[in-house]
Each structure stands twice: as structure tokens, then as C-alpha cells.
Symmetry: C3
Subunit: 358 residues, 3 copies
């Protein structure tokens, strides 16, 4: 059995065992352990599939696909939470997902990529647009929070403002896709793509055909969604046993698990010097959560009962703002090195520790 | 009658009708409608005059003249409000004017220019200096607000701090004019200017001679001032009839009407691919309000009675800060496209909606 | 006696007189006056020694040495204050030192250098990294303050968070030295260095040999430490006599005196068109205080009694944040001119005036 065959054996075995443990209601601690191992395998599988698709589609579209498939799992989990009325947990996990992508995924990618390559570069124009969109996300989340607290809004006004902001964010996100994928596609394409195309550097053969890559991408996403849900289901018992708060579980444990796909894919790409695609996954995934997943959840919540407002707590807002500003400072020059990645990880640790103490 | 003659007929007719309606005390709703139509014509006239002057003076000086003549009207209106002691309304309209210029005027210019041209460029150095000045304005407005609220300043200390900050801002603005018009003029001149000069591209004949252009510029400004005042005079009745708050009227309706000149001129220039001049008008006008008009009003208020302090409310400060940061993010790379303009307009709509609900 | 001999005579005479006045307990006002004069001389001496070392070591290492020797004095004074339990005074003087370096030292250097040279340039990459580190410092100071105030932390949690943040900051600072002095040294070296090296422009002979320069650097630092302490010792009497608050004394008077070395060296270098070294001193010194001196004081305080927390007051945080953002806006393009220096000084005056009124 060679290395690849060993990987697939582990993938199938850990997934099957987790499924059995979940549906036959085995011991929660065992399910936690086995599904955590399974997450590592399915995330690795998703990473391979994404990379193979990216071979055909280019780094940017590949990154977008990865971010979208990665967030699909989170959206599904969040809809169940919204239906159950756990608005605070939903917001905590959205916050955790944004800061996890901007600090941990981006930080690890830049750090590990930077240990291997002295300096990695990517398209500055894209970095600028991503920064601007991150600022929009902050602004859009900041305005309702300021007005609601400063002016003692009624519950009804709060909801109207939340729905309006949600619609504007969704429209902005859809037009961003039009802009970046259609009208200004060429301007934002990666320099590496161009450089590779010119140098005819595509020596490395993709793992699979395009059709099979897409199929595996979908399959891997579905597996991630299932395993994530099983793992999340055990967290209540685990947190009770280890004495962790719900906020910390939502913002850090759930978010890290839910972003396993982004983690593995982004780091794998960064270590192959495709830092452009890694940044696209990490930043694109945060943007998608702030500009699309969060507002969609606000609108969906209306179907189940009272609308969830878009007002985050001060410490959630502070954590998001801090992450955006440090990520913007690091990413805005289109060059990265190990120290920049290290700084992002440090800020993540400080935030994680502060949330842990709350 | 050709198209131009029709325009002048409309200009004169609507202005004359508004004057009659105002001085003969006709129905307020009629005056509102007719003066609103007149504003469109006189703003268009002012735009033509500015563009003609810019033909002779270069884009930057032309932009400065337009911003100054546009703000002259606002300053006059604000002095009347200060004399009447309506400090809160003055600050609301200053806030509205800053965010209106940074978000709506700049946003519409970039958006409409961007629909016509794939990418528009302007001098990055100038963009950097403008950003730095906008940060100064935020800092200068933010410090008094922080200290006054954090330390329970006495009324007297509040006034001393406000007067000091006002004097520093005015000195900074005057030295900025020295810097940008005298000592470092060449460094900040637009690339388009240079490119045009090199290519000898000045095919398009200016509308009028320099002398006549300047005369029309002054005439158009005076007409804008008059019509604006008549329109503002009707707003109290209009707001009562439609149930709008004073804050919303001050920050949005007055500001949009008062900035009609900047709007028309900036958009017209952007659509002729002179985005440098459009940015100069929009950003320059906000800077002039924050660094010159607001502090001058603080100093002038001392002649009429108790000095107006320079302390804005938290939501006004939040709105200004948000506008500066998003405009800085959009403008700092010296390149614009339709999506960046769209984002600015979206932030304006979110802010407008939040102010409307207060 | 030529000009240089006159300088050394003044240096020795003022230092000796201050020592006598201090140890023989002469009149406090006399000691204040004579030690203030002495500070000017020893700071000038330190500036010469730094410049001479920088001749041998390059602008960046020279700047780092100057910042470190300058801050050594401050660290010693602060340790005595921590031992006495004056935590608030320590934080006020750390705040004052950060804003003094970022606004006054940097502002005067850029302003005076800009009056002599139309535009001064330095390495943009270094500017970007310095900005990112300044953002890290803000973030690290901002997170404890937000969490402590938002969540009513217990005293114990406050201390644990402070110690964790302190350790992370120290590790970040040490790795920054590894990054900037070892792994990416070449990337951050100054363009002027390269240009000079290429042009063989080192016409100007250094004052002393390398050995003697280092000896004088250490000697000058020790003299600065002594004179600073004697001067600081008189401030209590002086403040009582002139009616100034402890906060103002700590944040402005102590900070200006304590940074005399950075002032004189940075300004001297800026006026010789070595703006890269001047920025390195001013920004590097602030970074060292935020990322190294402050956390070391937190850890040291634990040996004397209850640990000093890292939570600054809202107005201190606001002052630091404001300074970082305006300095970042000014320094981020790697070009400076007199107006940018002027703006920094204006913000310093506004902050100083606000602190004076508290």
C-alpha cells in the first residue's frame, strides 16, 4: 500500500467509524475523538479536490469555489441554530469564523509559506479590493450597533435596519462576484497565473480529470458537512466536561472545526508558493461570511419567528474590527513573509485567550 | 431653439419663478417644488462654468475653486443658523455635508465614470495627502469628543479646547493651501494634465473666454446660494408635512441640496474621464468643511453669544469616521472602477436609513 | 577655543553643576534649570555618538542602537516608579513616550528635514512593516481594555490576561529583531545606504574611530540617564509651583525630557537627508516602548508585589491610537515633506492641550 492508498484507507475508515458512533449513539467522548480525526482526513481530501479544480479553473476561481464549499457546511449548521432560536451562538460562531479565517488560516498559510519561501507575492489590486470589501463589512456591522446603542432604538426599528443592511450586503456581495468574475476578471487575475502561463510552467499534472475533480469536490464538501455536524453535536458534553463557556466554544472550537476545509487547502497552496490562492480562500471566506452568510441568516430567521438582528456585541465587533485591521495591514502590500504570518497568529492567540477568560 | 438655448431658458425661468414664490410668499409646497427644479438648473450652470475655468486653470485649481464656491453657499446658510443659536442643526448639516461629499458625490462620480471607462486613474501622491488630511480632521474632531466625555470637562474647558482646536485646524488648512498650491504644486498635479499636455489633446474648445468663465462662476455661485436658501426655508414645512426628523433633514436633505454644485460638476467631470478633478471636488469639499468651515463657525459663534463647541455627537462622529475610512480605502490606490463607486453609495444608503430611523 | 571645544566645555560644566546641585541638595528650581540645560548638551553628545556609530553600522542598526540606548534610561526610571507602586504614572509616561516619539520627534524631524529638502524618501517596505507592528501594539493594548471593561473581569483574570499579552508582545518584539536584523535584513536596508554605497558617497569622515564611538555612545547614555533622573526628581516641586497635573507631567514633561536623546539624534539625521534613520529612531523607539518596555514592566512588577495590569485608560488608548493612525498615514508612502511633519506636530499640540486641561 503506497502513501496515497494509506490516506484513502484512513479517510474511509475514520468517516465510517464516526458515522457508526453518531447514529448508534456511542460514547460522546469517543465520537468527539474519532470525528476530530475524521475531520483532518476529509479536510485533506477537500484540499486535494480544490487544488485539482484550481488547476483547471485558475487560482482565483479555485479559491472562490473552496471558500464557498467550505462555508456551505457552516451555513447549514447555522440554519439549524437559527431555527432553534440560538441567535447568540450563531453570532459567536460567525464572529469566530471571520477572525479564524483572517487570523488563523491566513496566518498559518503566510507563516508556513514564508518559512519555505523568503517572500511570496500576489496581485496588489486584488488585495486592495479585498481590503475595501472588508472595510465595508466592518462599516455595515458597526453602523447598526452604534445607532441601536446610542439612540435606544425600538425593537421594530432595530429589525427594519437589520433587514435593510442585510439586503444591501447581499446585493453588494453579488455585484462583487459580477465585478470580479465578469467585468474586471482580467485585472484581478494573479500574477503567478500569468507568469506560469507565459513560462508554460504547468509541468505538474493534475491528480484527476476536471469532471472527477468537481465530483470529488462536491463529495468532500458533503463529507465535511456531515463530520462537522457530528463533531459539533458532541461539543456540549465536551464543554461541560472541560468547563469551557458557550461563547468560547462557539467562537473558537466550532469555528476552527468548521473552517477545516479552508485551513488545509490554504496552507497546502501557500506551501506550493500559490499564496494568491491561499489569501483568496482565507479573505474570500471571511468576506463571504460577513457579506453573504450573516445577512442570509438574518433574512432566513424571519421565516421561523422573530427576525435575528444584525447587532453584534461590543467584544464581537472589537474582535472582528481588530482582525480586519491587522489583516489589512499585513495583506495590503501584496507581499508576505513568515513574520507577518506570525503576527496574525499572535493576535489570534490573544483574542482566543481573552474569549477563554470571559 | 437649440439644446443650449433651451437650457438657459429653463435656468432663467425656474430661478425667476422661485424668486417670485419666495418674496411674494406663495404656497410653501409650490416654492419647494419650483426651487428644487431651479437648483438642478443653477447647479448645471455652475458645473459648466467650473469646467470652463478648469480648462484654463488645470484640473486641481478648478476643483478647488468649485469646492470653495460650493461651500461658500453652505457657510452663509450656517452663519444664519449659528446666529439663531441652532448649534445642533449646524453640526448635523456639517456632518451631512462631509458624508454627502465623501460618499454620495464621490460615489456617484466613480460609479458613473466607471460605467463608461473600465478603470480611471489619478495622482496617487495627491490621494495620499488627501487621506492624511482626512485622518487629521477625524483626529481633531475625535480628541475633543473623547476628552469631554471621558473627563467631565467643565463648560469653560470645553470652550477653550474647542477654540484651540479650531485655530489649529484653520492654520493647518491655510498651510495645506500653501503646500499644495505653492511649495509642492508640481508634485501634486494630475497625471492626466501632464499626459494631455504632452499629447496636445486639448482639442475640445472651452465654452467661454477665461474672463467670462470666471464671471459666470461667480454669478452661478450667487444663484446657488439664493436658491439653496429659499429651498432650505421651505424644509421646515415640508418636514412637518412628511414627518421627518430635524436631524435627518439637516444631515441629508439640506446637505444634498447644499452640495448640488459639487454633485453636478464632479459627475460631469468624471464622465469626461477627468476623475482627478472629480475626486478633488468631492474630497476637497469635505476637507474644506472639516478643516475650515466648521472651525470658522466655532470662532464666529463667539461674536453672537456663547461659543459653539466643536464636540459632535457619537453617531455624527461615527458617521464621519466611517465615511472617511471607506473613502480612504477606495481612493488610496489612485484607481477607480464602478464597483468602488457602488460601495460608497451603499454605505451612504445604510447611513441615511439609520439617520432616518433615529 | 573652537566651536567643538566650546561644546565639550558646556557639556562637562553643566553636567558637573547638575551633579553638585543634586547631591548637595541645592535649591530645586536651580537644579531644574541647570539639569534642563545639561540635558540639551548630553543629548547633543549622544546624537553625535549615534551618528558616528551609524557611519560604521549603517542607518538601520544605528537607529536601533539609538532607540535602545534612549529607552534604557526610560526603563530604569520606570522600574523605580513600578517599585514605588505608581502604576498610573508609569502608564502615563509610557503613553507620553509613545506619542512623543510618533508625533513630536517624528514630526520635528520630517518638518525640519522638509524645510531643507523638498522631498525625502526611505524604504517603503520598512515603513510597511513598522506600520503593521504599530497596529499590533494598538491591538494588543486595545484587547485587554475592551474585555476588561466590557465583561467586568475579576482582578485575577485581568492579571492573567495582562501577563499573557505581555509575554506575546515580548516574543513578537524579539522575533521582529530576528526578522529585521537576520532573516530579511537585506530587504529592509535603506535605499540611501545602497545609493551611497553605489556612488561611493562616504566623503564625510566619521568623527571618531568605531571603538571610541561605541564607548562615547555608552557614556552619553549613562549621562542622559543620570541627568534625566535628577531632572525628573525636581518635577514634583515644579509642578506644585506651576499648578500642573501629574498626568500632564507624566505624559508630556517627563516624556519630552526622557526622549531628548531620540529628539536630538533624529532631527540631526533628518537635516542631513538621512530621513530613513530618523524614522527608524522615532518609530523604532515607540515600538520598543509598546512591545518591549511596557510588557517587561508588567512582568517585573510581579516581583515587587501585585502585578501591574496592561490596561490603559480610555484617553491614553485614544491618544496612542490617534498617534499611530496619523503617523501611519504620514509614513506609509515612504516619502515625507514639511507639511506632513507640520501635521504631526499639530496633533501633538492638540493632544498636549487636551491633557493639560484634564
Amino acid at each position: 500500500m503506497n502513501r496515497r492508498q494509506l490516506f484513502y484507507a484512513g479517510l474511509i475508515a475514520s468517516f465510517a467509524l464516526s458515522a457508526l458512533a453518531h447514529y448508534l449513539h456511542w460514547n460522546q467522548m469517543f465520537l468527539f475523538a474519532v470525528s476530530a480525526i475524521s475531520v483532518v482526513f476529509v479536510a485533506g481530501f477537500l484540499g486535494q479536490a480544490t487544488e485539482s479544480v484550481a488547476h483547471y479553473a485558475g487560482q482565483r476561481l479555485g479559491g472562490f469555489l473552496n471558500a464557498t464549499f467550505g462555508n456551505a457546511a457552516e451555513l447549514i449548521i447555522a440554519i439549524f441554530l437559527v431555527k432553534a432560536g440560538s441567535f447568540e451562538t450563531v453570532k459567536a460562531s460567525l464572529t469566530g469564523s471571520i477572525i479564524g479565517n483572517l487570523l488563523l488560516v491566513l496566518g498559518l498559510s503566510i507563516f508556513l509559506g514564508g518559512l519555505k519561501f523568503k517572500e511570496q507575492r500576489y496581485n496588489v489590486q486584488l488585495a486592495n479590493h479585498n481590503s475595501t470589501l472588508m472595510i465595508l463589512a466592518i462599516v455595515a456591522l458597526f453602523i447598526p450597533a452604534t445607532f441601536v446603542s446610542a439612540e435606544h432604538f425600538t425593537f421594530r426599528k432595530d429589525q427594519i435596519l437589520s433587514i435593510t443592511v442585510a439586503i444591501i450586503l447581499i446585493v453588494s456581495y453579488l455585484l462583487w462576484l459580477v465585478f470580479s468574475m465578469i467585468t474586471h476578471k482580467d485585472m484581478l487575475s494573479d500574477m503567478e497565473d500569468k507568469a506560469e502561463a507565459q513560462a508554460g510552467e504547468h509541468h505538474e499534472e493534475p491528480l484527476w480529470t476536471l469532471k472527477r475533480s468537481v465530483l470529488y469536490l462536491v463529495l468532500a464538501t458533503v463529507m465535511v458537512a456531515f463530520v462537522s455536524e457530528w463533531l459539533v453535536g458532541t461539543l456540549h458534553s465536551v464543554s461541560a466536561r472541560f468547563g469551557l463557556s458557550e461563547l468560547f466554544i462557539g467562537a473558537f472550537v466550532v469555528a476552527i472545526v468548521g473552517n477545516a476545509a479552508e485551513h488545509s487547502a490554504a496552507i497546502m497552496l501557500a506551501m506550493k508558493n500559490k499564496i494568491g490562492a491561499a489569501v483568496e480562500i482565507a479573505v474570500g471566506s471571511s468576506l463571504q461570511i460577513a457579506l453573504f452568510v450573516a445577512p442570509v441568516l438574518v433574512l432566513i430567521s424571519g421565516f421561523f419567528g422573530p427576525t435575528m438582528d444584525i447587532v453584534f456585541t461590543p467584544i464581537e465587533l472589537a474582535a472582528i474590527a481588530v482582525s480586519v485591521f491587522i489583516a489589512k495591514a499585513v495583506a495590503s502590500d501584496g507581499r508576505t513573509n513568515w513574520y507577518e504570518g506570525f503576527l496574525l497568529i499572535m493576535v489570534y492567540i490573544i483574542l482566543g485567550f481573552a474569549f477563554f477568560l470571559v
